[in-house]
């Protein structure tokens, strides 16, 4: 871990020692700035029972710049597009160095519990979520079953 800022070392240690319930974040063997993340679909959400893989990368000027996070597992969500990119203010202009990997992952977990179709990234999903929420939730469940279970 030579050359790795102490903050990243500390955050990594804490993530390993006191993991966030429902979330695991494990640094890559060859790159301590790259994390393999797994988020469990929150209870009561259409993503319940799903296991979602994400990748998280800490850029060179972290924590002055936000981590880069992307869903790898396909997900039907109005704020996540088909490439897995996430529409979350704290990953963009609302980032602050006081936030951490932990808080970012908690926010993503919360986003799964409470989709925000008024600030969408996946437009067709968002549209359906507003027009026909029942069908949208059914789609989300289907996608969760198809892509996020059993692997």
């Amino acid at each position: 871990m030579a050359g790795l800022p102490r903050r990243i070392v500390k955050e990594t240690q804490r993530l390993m020692q006191e993991p966030v319930p429902g979330i695991s974040a494990i640094p890559d063997d060859s790159n301590a700035r790259y994390f393999h993340v797994v988020v469990a679909g929150p209870e009561g959400s259409p993503f319940e029972g799903g296991v979602f893989k994400l990748e998280l990368f800490l850029p060179e000027d972290y924590p002055m710049s936000a981590p880069k996070v992307r869903f790898i597992t396909k997900i039907y969500h109005p704020n996540i597009d088909k490439l897995g990119r996430i529409c979350l203010d704290i990953l963009k202009d609302k980032w602050s160095p006081a936030l951490q990997i932990r808080t970012v992952l908690l926010s993503i977990q919360a986003l799964l519990s409470a989709p925000n179709p008024d600030d969408p990234l996946a437009n067709d999903v968002a549209e359906l979520w507003k027009v026909n929420e029942v069908e949208a939730i059914r789609n989300a469940r289907d996608w969760t079953r198809t892509y996020a279970m059993g692997n």
Partner: protein, 487 residues
């Protein structure tokens, strides 16, 4: 020779030791040359010892003045009459420090004798962060008491080029001399930074307010070398009294930057430097009408802008120069001015009247079109639509690293075989590339590159922040969301 060297080393070594401990209570037997200024304005050079108390200093002064040893005099430093038992090593004295020696006169009104008046200012002031009623309980252990003493930091431009501990000094507002004894106790930074908050009695014969109350003016010096100039204090830099971890790196730094937000967020100095450099590279400093080109607390708290921009000197000379240039460019552009597009010029020009022909009068003399930033021409801007024209213009003048890079590229091109490369210069590959890969923000016209993601653009220029659509090149709307969010 060896012995001489050794002695020099000993002298410096003990000096460094003494400086490191801020003139603490450690006794050292080194001579300290100080200046004694009398009430008549006479200066004496006196060598004193750090182990002496003020009684011994008084004797040395009286001997040098040729006065009887029993002559009652008082020594004044930083607004305080020093009690006879105060030790030299407990005052933040440095080589060349001026002490005032005042004969005790019967008509001179005596201050309330509460003891603190006789202790040096650096020993009686607790940290100025603690102001008004928010003072903490008196600390019991000597270490805790030492930590609670006031700590001041300055940015020393020369010779240190660094953040350094500062010394608080005081002078009389009327005669500008230091022979003043404070009548009140500064309790917060505002007492020290804002003029006319604390009064004192000036003792110098030449002072028009002698014997009556006059205003005290506080100022700071770098404590790391003798005879320093007045240096503005960096009042956000505080001694980390409560071992608060840095908001970014989580380490407990010493000293730290305490932002002025209600939460008083704390950053270590290194993370503050990184924060400033990152924001500078992104051109995210804000131009505030009163405070200048500045930043808020990194957490983004409201009302947390750094009000003393000299704190940004901490980013180092090179980046501070960039900071000043960016700030100036931002000011020129926000004032409706333009920057001269000539390579290596970049002069800021604010036109007196709205005229399309701009001449870089105090710079390179180039006459150019305000709209397209090409050499001045009559008629329409050539072979470019209005949008492209302003785009090209912005590509050279705009705030942004691209503009800077474009300029330096052009300069590199121009060096060498002029005849061959002249065409390259004319073609200006950098600005062409910028034209091809960017679109101007519809509001501020900053050339913007879309590196990926959706069509919803947010202008990264600090003063703009406009939400716009990459396809429509107008304000972002729900229609854009509905029809071409991803193109």
């Amino acid at each position: 020779m060896a012995a001489w060297l050794l002695r020099v080393w000993h002298w410096w070594g003990s000096w460094l030791y003494w400086l490191m401990w801020g003139g603490g209570s450690t006794a050292r037997t080194s001579g300290l040359p100080v200046t004694i200024r009398t009430e008549q304005g006479q200066n004496l050079s006196v060598h004193i010892q750090l182990t002496w108390d003020m009684r011994q200093v008084q004797s040395a002064v009286l001997a040098q003045l040729g006065l009887p040893a029993a002559t009652p005099i008082r020594l004044i430093l930083a607004g305080r009459r020093l009690a006879p038992e105060v030790r030299v090593g407990d005052c933040d004295l440095g080589a060349g420090t001026t002490l005032h020696a005042i004969r005790v006169l019967t008509h001179c009104p005596e201050q309330a004798d509460d003891g603190t008046q006789h202790r040096p200012l650096n020993q009686s002031l607790v940290d100025l962060e603690i102001s008004g009623g928010a003072r903490t309980q008196p600390a019991s252990s000597p270490e805790a008491q030492a930590r609670r003493l006031a700590h001041f930091y300055v940015y020393c431009d020369a010779p240190c080029h660094a953040l350094q501990p500062g010394k608080l000094r005081v002078r009389c507002a009327s005669c500008q001399d230091g022979g003043i004894v404070l009548a009140g106790e500064p309790t917060g930074w505002s007492d020290v930074l804002v003029p006319d908050r604390i009064q004192g009695t000036c003792n110098l014969a030449a002072c028009p307010t002698r014997g009556t109350l006059s205003w005290a003016r506080f100022y700071f010096k770098c404590a790391s070398h003798p005879a320093s100039e007045d240096t503005p204090p960096l009042y956000l830099i505080r001694s980390n009294l409560y071992d608060v971890p840095c908001l970014a790196c989580l380490d407990v730094g010493q000293p730290v930057v305490v932002f002025e937000c209600p939460e008083k967020h704390v950053s270590c100095v290194e993370c503050f430097q990184n924060y400033c450099r990152t924001r500078l590279n992104e051109r995210q400093f804000q131009l505030h009408p009163d405070h200048g080109y500045t930043l808020p607390c990194p957490v983004g708290c409201a009302d947390s802008l750094v009000r003393e921009t000299r704190h940004f000197k901490l980013i180092g000379d090179h980046d501070y120069e960039r900071y000043q240039r960016f700030g100036t460019e931002e000011f020129v552009l926000q004032s409706g001015g333009v920057l001269c597009p000539r390579p290596d010029c970049g002069m800021g020009i604010i036109m007196d009247e709205p005229c399309r022909r701009v001449v870089c009068e105090n710079g390179c003399g180039f006459a150019f079109c305000r709209d397209c930033l090409q050499g001045y021409h009559i008629g329409e801007c050539e072979a470019q639509t209005e949008t492209e024209c302003s785009n090209a213009a912005q590509s050279l003048m705009a705030v942004g690293e691209n503009a800077v890079r474009a300029r330096s590229d052009v300069r590199l091109m121009a060096v060498g075989e002029n005849a061959v490369r002249a065409r390259w210069v004319n073609a200006d590959p950098s600005s062409l590339a910028i034209q091809l890969t960017t679109k101007p923000c519809p509001k501020c016209r900053t050339p913007t590159e879309r590196s990926g993601g959706c069509m919803h653009m947010v202008c990264t220029k600090a003063a703009c922040g406009f939400h716009w659509c990459w396809i429509c090149q107008t304000e972002w709307t729900r229609d854009c969301m509905a029809s071409h969010w991803f193109g």
